[in-house]
Amino acid sequence: MTTKTAKIDRLAELTARRETATGGSLWAEALRRLRSSKMAMIGGGIMAVFVIIAIVGPWIAPYDPTAQTWRGEVRVNAAVFVGPRGDNWLGLDHLGRDELSRMLVGARQTLLVGVVSTVLGLTIGALIGGVAGAALSFGGAAGRRLDTVLMRFIDMMLAMPSLLLAVSIAAVMGQSLTTVMIAVGVVQIPIFARLLRGSMLAQAGADYVLAARALGVRRRRIVLGHVLPNSLGPVIVQTTLALATAIIEAAALSYLGLGNPDASQPEWGVMLAQAQRFFDQAPMMAVYPALGIIITALGFTLLGEAMREALDPKLRS
C-alpha cells in the first residue's frame, strides 16, 4: 500500500513542479514532446489499431463468430484441432468457430469493459478526490474533517488487493457484463481519488491561488476555475494507464469465470479461459487472445508512460 500511495502522490506532484516558464504552453509542449517520443508513437499506434478494430470488428470479421460452421472438423475428444489455414487464418476453436472472427469481434467487448470501467472509476474517484481536495484546501476545520473521513475510506479501499476486491464484487453481484465493469471500475476509484486530491493540494498552495484569494475571487470559482484545471494533468495520464489495467483485470475476471456469461459475445478473457483446457493439444488457441490482451495493454501503458514523462519537468532533457 505504501509504495502504491507513494507512486500516486509522486504523480500528483508532477504538475505542481513547474519550475520553468512553460505556463499555458504546458500542454503544447507536452504534445510536442509526445510527438518526438518513439514510445508514445508506438503506444498510440497500437491503441489506434485496437480502437479501430473494436469499432469495425463485426463488419470486417470474415465469419459469424458464434456460428459453429466447422463443427465436424474439430474433435476435442480425439485431440483433433484445426490450425491456421486458407479459409480460417487463425484456425478454429474447440467448437469449430473461426478464431480470427472471434478475436476481431471480441476486441469490442474488451474495449467496452476497459473504457466503461475506467470512466466509472475516474468519475467517482475524481468526485471524491476533488471534494476532499477542495474541502481540505478551502473548507476550514469542517473541510479538514470531511477530507479525513473521505480519505480514510479511500485508504481502506486502496489497502485491499485490487483483484480480490473485484472478485468479491463480482461474486456478490452475480455474473454479468455490468458486474465486470463495476468490479473493475471500483478498483480504480481510490487511485483516481488520491491522485486528484494530491494534485489539487499541490495547486492550492500555488501563488496564483493565493493571488485569486487576495483579489476577492469566490471560493467556488477558485476551485473550479484555477485549482481543478491545473490539477488534471496527472489524472489524464493515470486514465491512460488505468485503461491498460482495466483491460487486464477484466480479462482476469473473465478467465476466473466471473465474466460475461453471454456466450454470443466473444471476449478475449473468456476465450483464454476456455482455451486453457486444450493448452496441451492446441496452445495457439490460448496464445491469440493472450497476445491480444498483452499487446493492447502494452499500447495503453506505453502511451501513458510517455505522457507521464512528457509532463514531468524532472525528466526534461
Partner: protein
C-alpha cells in the same frame, strides 16, 4: 489619519501531530504582537531577514492567513472580525502584489481573463466591453502593450509579468496595496523600473503601500516610514531618513552595516557588525528580548528576562531595546564574544561573555 492600523496582531500557526486525531504540540509564533499604523498616501516599508514573519504579516492584513489575535483596523473597520463574505468584498480596497510574478499568475489564463477576474468578483463593469475599456486603460498606465490582452503569462518577460500583477491589483482601484517583495525576483535594471512605476502610480492614484522586502536599498528608495522586524516582532520603526541616519536598535545597526558602501576607503574602515548564529526558531523564541541571543550589546539579567516595548525616543523613532540610549551614547560597548568586528582595526581579543568592554 491612518488608513491602516495594526493593534497587537498575532499570527500563530499550530504544529500538529497525530494519525487519526490531530494534537497541537506547539505553535510557530510567526507574528507575535505587532502594532503599527500607516497613513493614507504613505509607504510603509517592512524589512527583516527571511523567516522573520514579514510575509505572514502582509498576508494577515489581507486575512490570507488566519489572525490569532489582535485587530487590523482598515479605514475604521476591524478586518480581523469581519465575516468571510464581507472580508472578501473588502478585498477590493486592499490588494497585493506578489514576489514571484510568474507563479502568481495562472498559467492557463490570458491577460484579459486575469485582469477581468477581480472585476467580475466585485461586480465592476457591467459587460465584457466595459471591462475591456477599463483594462486597456490600466494596461497603458502600467506600460504594457494593448495587444497583451489575448496573450499568456509565459509570453512576457519578468518585468512585464510584474506589471501584469500590478495591473491586476490596480483594476480594482484599491486604497492600499501590500507589495510582498515586489522586485526581489527581478533583474536589478528592471527593479528600478518597477519601483519607479509603483511611485508614479502612488502619486497619480493616491495609493498607500506596505512594502515588504529584505533589500534595504529597495525599502529606502520607496518608503516614508520603515519598520524593522525580527522574529515576529518590530524592533525599530522610524521615518526612512532617520532610520538610515541613526539606527538605534542593535539588530538594525547590524543590518545597516551589512550594506556595502560605494566608497572603498569608507568601506574598509567603517564599522561592520557581523552577527553570529542563526535566527532562533520562531516555534520557541528566546525569552526576554528576542534578539538577546545574538546581540553584541547584551546586558546580563534584564535582556533575557524582560521583553522590551517599542518606545518613542523622539521624532517618531520607536525602538524596542532596553539600552538604546546607552548604546547611542557609547556607555555600553559591544562584547567581542558575538563578534562585532570593526574592519580596519586589529582583530579584537576574546573576552568572557556578557562583560561590557570599558
Amino acid at each position: 489619519m491612518s488608513l491602516l492600523e495594526l493593534d497587537d496582531v498575532k499570527v500563530h500557526f499550530p504544529i500538529k501531530r497525530g494519525v487519526l486525531f490531530d494534537r497541537t504540540i506547539g505553535h510557530v509564533y510567526a507574528v507575535d504582537g505587532i502594532s503599527l499604523s500607516v497613513s493614507a498616501g504613505q509607504t510603509y516599508g517592512l524589512v527583516g531577514e527571511s523567516g522573520c514573519g514579514k510575509t505572514t504579516l502582509g498576508r494577515a492584513i489581507l486575512r490570507l492567513n488566519d489572525i490569532t489575535s489582535g485587530r487590523v483596523l482598515f479605514d475604521g473597520t476591524d478586518l480581523a472580525a469581519l465575516p468571510d463574505e464581507e472580508m472578501r468584498q473588502s478585498r477590493r480596497r486592499l490588494q497585493m502584489i506578489f514576489q514571484d510574478p510568474l507563479g502568481s499568475l495562472n498559467p492557463r489564463q490570458n491577460i484579459e481573463s486575469i485582469l477581468a477576474e477581480g472585476m467580475a468578483a466585485h461586480g465592476i463593469g457591467a459587460s465584457r466591453e466595459e471591462r475591456r475599456v477599463k483594462i486597456n486603460e490600466i494596461l497603458e498606465r502600467v506600460g504594457l502593450p494593448a495587444g497583451a490582452l489575448s496573450r499568456y503569462p509565459h509570453e512576457f518577460s519578468g518585468g512585464q509579468r510584474q506589471r501584469i500583477g500590478i495591473a491586476r491589483a490596480l483594476v480594482l482601484e484599491p486604497d492600499l496595496i501590500i507589495c510582498d517583495e515586489p522586485v526581489s525576483a527581478l533583474d536589478v535594471s528592471i527593479q528600478a523600473q518597477v519601483l519607479n512605476l509603483l511611485e508614479e502610480l502612488q502619486d497619480a492614484m493616491g495609493l498607500t503601500y506596505v512594502v515588504i522586502a529584505h533589500d534595504l536599498a529597495v525599502v529606502r528608495h520607496i518608503s516614508d516610514v520603515i519598520g524593522v522586524m525580527y522574529l515576529g516582532a518590530l524592533v525599530e520603526e522610524a521615518p526612512s531618513d532617520s532610520l538610515y541616519a541613526e539606527p538605534r536598535h542593535p539588530y538594525t545597526r547590524a543590518l545597516m552595516s551589512a550594506v556595502p558602501v560605494p566608497d572603498p576607503d569608507l568601506e574598509d574602515t567603517r564599522e561592520r557588525i557581523l552577527l553570529r548564529g542563526d535566527l532562533p526558531s520562531p516555534a520557541s523564541p528566546p525569552t526576554g528580548c528576542r534578539f538577546h541571543t545574538r546581540c553584541p550589546w547584551r546586558q546580563p539579567e534584564r535582556c533575557d528576562t524582560e521583553r522590551p516595548e517599542l518606545t518613542d525616543i523622539g521624532g517618531g523613532h520607536r525602538v524596542a531595546c532596553h539600552y538604546a540610549a546607552e548604546i547611542a551614547e557609547g556607555t555600553i560597548r559591544p562584547t567581542t564574544e558575538l563578534a562585532p568586528r570593526i574592519l580596519g582595526d586589529a582583530e579584537p581579543e576574546s573576552e568572557p561573555p556578557g562583560v561590557p568592554v570599558p
